[in-house]
């Protein structure tokens, strides 16, 4: 139980000795829906990610190459940018990165391109809970949809406790 105190100015201060509250395996139920996560895609999204591998002229950042590479001039963002939105979805839900970094698994399929101006909303729903020896796993169905409600990425995620 958190012990709140007040300062001499009657400002409420939280309990500094309270433990972190994270979501545990036992608190998760099959069918639980994860809090949604929203990611806004701009022309900077593809450029920022492109800098990590020194991209100076791919179809992700150049409309002429985009037409030759993807058949459209709209410079779709890299698939890696789309799938990366699953990480904050999971961490925000669990209030912890541990089950994600120690044994996490993400399987993704890209359904359609995502272009600057799109808004992606990531969803997740708990599919199953599995206990194997000393490990406990939670399987989650995930997908990202755009502002028109079209699925752009679908996948399955595993977190490990």
């Amino acid at each position: 139980m958190s012990e709140k105190t007040k300062t001499k100015y009657q400002v409420t201060v939280g309990d500094e000795s309270a433990k972190l509250k994270t979501v545990t395996f036992d608190e998760i139920n099959i069918g639980d829906e994860l809090p949604q996560y929203t990611k806004w895609i701009t022309s900077q999204s593809g450029m920022r990610f492109g800098r990590t591998y020194k991209d100076v002229f791919s179809g992700h950042i150049n409309p002429k190459v985009s037409e030759g590479q993807f058949g459209v001039r709209s410079m779709p963002v890299q698939g890696a940018v789309i799938e990366a939105g699953v990480t904050p979805l999971i961490i925000n839900w669990l209030r912890s990165a541990k089950p994600w970094l120690y044994g996490g698994r993400q399987e993704s399929k890209f359904i359609q391109i995502v272009v600057p101006g799109d808004t992606l909303i990531y969803h997740g729903k708990v599919l199953d809970k599995i206990i194997e020896k000393d490990k406990k796993y939670v399987m989650v169905d995930v997908f990202a949809e755009n502002q028109k409600g079209e699925k752009v990425m679908v996948g399955t995620v595993r977190v490990a406790f």
Binding site: R48, G50, K64, Q69, G79, L101, G104, K109
Partner: protein, 165 residues
């Protein structure tokens, strides 16, 4: 993606099981922060040691999705050209252990599989990350389809101007 290599990888060169390239990295705070920023993920767990100290990780850690340029830097190091002739279609990413500042990571790039389906050519990279203790910390199976070199192909001249081929 930069076509700076000199040796062009051809479809025929992709032999399942073949190790194409490997590269080692000393993980710095900037590597982790820049990667998270590249994905527009501003969770301070990836950049702020004071903040990270108060989380259950206890210190700054690399995000699950870290790529360090994925397969391109090892390819370029080996003088190999490839990049814009493929489109990413699906993936399986696994994190076995977190990656921390100061870890020495060796990334190995292997051809996992190649096949044709509905008239398209697909191939899968297996990218394995090992730490300084030889432990597998991360694995990525990345499937793309082969589209060939797009036209027009834009390159940069020495003054940074676009050159259309």
């Amino acid at each position: 993606m930069p076509e700076v290599g000199v040796i062009d990888i051809k479809w025929e060169d992709l032999v399942p099981g073949k190790v194409i390239a490997s590269q080692s990295y000393l993980i710095t705070p900037d590597d982790i922060r820049e990667e998270a920023e590249a994905y527009e993920d501003y969770n301070p767990l990836y950049s702020d040691p004071e903040f990270a100290k108060n989380t259950d990780m206890g210190c700054v850690v690399a995000p699950f999705y870290i790529t360090l340029g994925e397969f391109l830097p090892p390819l370029m190091k080996a003088g190999l050209k490839m990049g814009i002739n493929t489109i990413y279609s699906s993936s399986i990413k696994e994190s076995f252990k977190p990656i921390f500042v100061g870890d020495l990571i060796t990334k190995k790039l292997i051809v996992e599989d190649k096949y044709e389906k509905r008239g398209k050519k697909f191939y899968t990279w297996r990218i394995e990350w090992f730490n300084q203790d030889g432990e597998l910390v991360k694995r990525h199976l990345r499937t793309s389809y082969w589209v060939g070199t797009p036209q027009p192909l834009i390159k940069l001249d020495r003054k940074g101007r676009e050159v259309v081929e």
